[in-house]
Symmetry: C2
């Protein structure tokens, strides 16, 4: 267990945003909140999953909904704690630690806000190794762990607990209906996990990975190097396209942000076009009509100058973008993993082909 250093907050936000594959919500408000809290002297303990006792109880938190709507409401650390307390009251037990459901985007910072208010340590792990739009798209689901009870809160005095769900799909459907009724954004606390379950079934070291990526970007900038190239080299990623955004189609619908974007190539990619589809996160990328990258590979659109991630809700005409793929946690591309997060899970009639297949 160690304390998060104040100068780690910015790299954490940068790295989480890149791992978000366009989703997980902008980390900017969370970053501002965390910086303020740390300046106020609040310490946030970060713990290795190996330090968890087997029967510790861990809560996984995330804000659910359409990222575009999330941007319209300022993040309040107290708000993120509401569903955690609701779940504790329901269980009649206190949690020993908090972790992100998804390290990607603002949701990667959410457990740190909860930790700042509650004093709980943040576990260096998540359940996606990136961000995904739906509740069942986690390593816990792939491992067959139960999905209930889960709690949703909101800025008013509403709270809902899904105490039983017939399946992960039912959990997604019920919680999405509540989230939509609450205004298409809601802080949530997912089914409690034991320390043993986290050690066996979570994606370990996710916070460390986000911190590392963020530091790589920061250091490259300081050296006036290309931050996109630096991240890809350090993380074994692959540059797929350099281009300029020429079209964005985006709509907030039924609790998701859906749409697509088109980029015209520049430099070596001049004359080519790259298209991406998204449902909160980037799902598939096509170069001149041919699938070049697809979920669960982490599709990153990064600002070519700063190396900052460009989210599905911040994408806009004229941006200069490096489109890259980062490898996803191996469990996501197993047959069991692909069933839950592969292209077919999103309705694409296509077999998963790794962007790293040809080395």
């Amino acid at each position: 267990m160690r304390m998060l250093e104040p100068d780690e907050i910015e790299p954490l936000a940068t790295g989480a945003w890149i791992l978000g594959a366009g989703g997980g919500g902008s980390p900017y408000d969370g970053f501002l909140n965390l910086r303020r809290l740390c300046r106020d002297g609040v310490g946030i303990p970060l713990m290795d999953p190996g330090e968890l006792d087997d029967d510790d109880l861990v809560v996984a938190v995330a804000t659910m909904g359409a990222p575009l709507v999330g941007r319209e409401r300022l993040a309040d650390p107290e708000l993120s704690v509401k569903p955690v307390r609701a779940l504790e009251d329901y269980l009649g037990r206190r949690f020993q630690a908090v972790m992100p459901v998804e390290i990607g985007g603002g949701n990667g910072l959410e457990p740190f806000l909860v930790a700042a208010v509650t004093g709980l340590p943040v576990v260096d792990a998540d359940a996606m190794g990136r961000a995904f739009p739906e509740a069942q798209m986690t390593s816990f689901s792939i491992h067959g762990l139960p999905m209930f009870p889960m709690a949703l809160g909101d800025v008013r005095d509403n709270a809902v607990i899904v105490t039983r769900a017939a399946s992960w799909t039912w959990m997604e459907r019920l919680s999405r209906a509540v989230c939509t009724a609450l205004g298409s954004t809601a802080p949530t606390a997912k089914a409690p996990r034991t320390g043993r379950e986290v050690k066996d079934c979570a994606i370990l070291g996710s916070v460390t990975r986000a911190l590392r990526i963020g530091r790589t970007v920061r250091d490259a900038r300081a050296r006036h190097d290309d931050p996109v190239a630096a991240v890809l080299e350090a993380e074994g990623g692959r540059l797929l396209f350099s281009g300029k955004v020429v079209d964005v189609d985006r709509r907030a619908t039924a609790g998701f942000l859906r749409g697509g974007a088109a980029l015209d190539g520049v430099e070596g990619d001049a004359g080519s076009r790259f298209e991406v589809d998204f449902q909160n996160e980037y799902l598939i990328g096509r170069r001149d009509g041919d699938a070049a990258v697809m979920t669960p590979d982490i599709i990153c659109l990064m600002d070519a100058e700063s190396g900052e991630a460009v989210g599905t809700e911040t994408l806009r005409y004229g941006q200069r973008i490096g489109v890259a793929a980062l490898p996803a946690p191996p469990i996501l591309s197993t047959p069991e993993g692909l069933e839950v997060v592969g292209p077919r899970a999103f309705g694409y009639d296509i077999d998963y082909r790794s962007a790293f297949a040809e080395g």
Copy 2:
């Protein structure tokens, strides 16, 4: 406390259906279930509200949703118990009695099904004195009692508890979203009430009133008298129109059954037309374009021959109908009551005028 007699089940169903104002769902499946349970020797205690201890805990049950959809699923007594058990588990306390939220329609029989399975007594009271489509339309709401926690169950293994709601409207919105996701019908257990709250804030004697109306219909039939006239005489009701259904417009939408119907007059009403609007329940009736009756008066459409109620989901072309008004519990037409269940609460820009105003 006394046991419900087997020969009371049919009058209970008939009376509840008439008090339903077209809604509350058909009592037919519940009637069949109750008859079978009583034949199997199950006894159902009926208790006067005065017998409740002040700190007894009472659960109010109802099936929520569009009656038309409810008809497509057979009522299973065990199903109605699911949200009751979910709420008990949440509270960490057992209930001492069960009551209907609305005496109207199948929902008037629902607590008897719960009682048959659990052994709990049914309290002779409800919170509407009829049926209404929305969660906040109760005497508990008019008295300002809290609306949470409330539980929803379903035929699969789903269960949801709204643990907090910012208002009755939020409770309606959240529970309706869950109900719709569950297929537009769901058994529910509403916020627990103490014995004191039931005695002070419920509509007392509702079960007795339903039984009395049902017996009046049965006895009139046995005497070959007009059952509609018999009910109106015994209950202080008023016949508004005799006619034949010539048009029905009905749609299940967003968890409700909405629409309207038109009747052409017969006998003394020949040459006139009567139109009714409904949202699960009949809301307003117009004779030749002029409002003749409106909520909260209990608008009953009864089969002219049998005296059986005709629900908004069983209304069809060609039926011979007596349209009548029965007086609603007085609290519903107080200023506080009208705010919650008067015509304006349903979007009609019209002041409530009692169908009994002219004596």
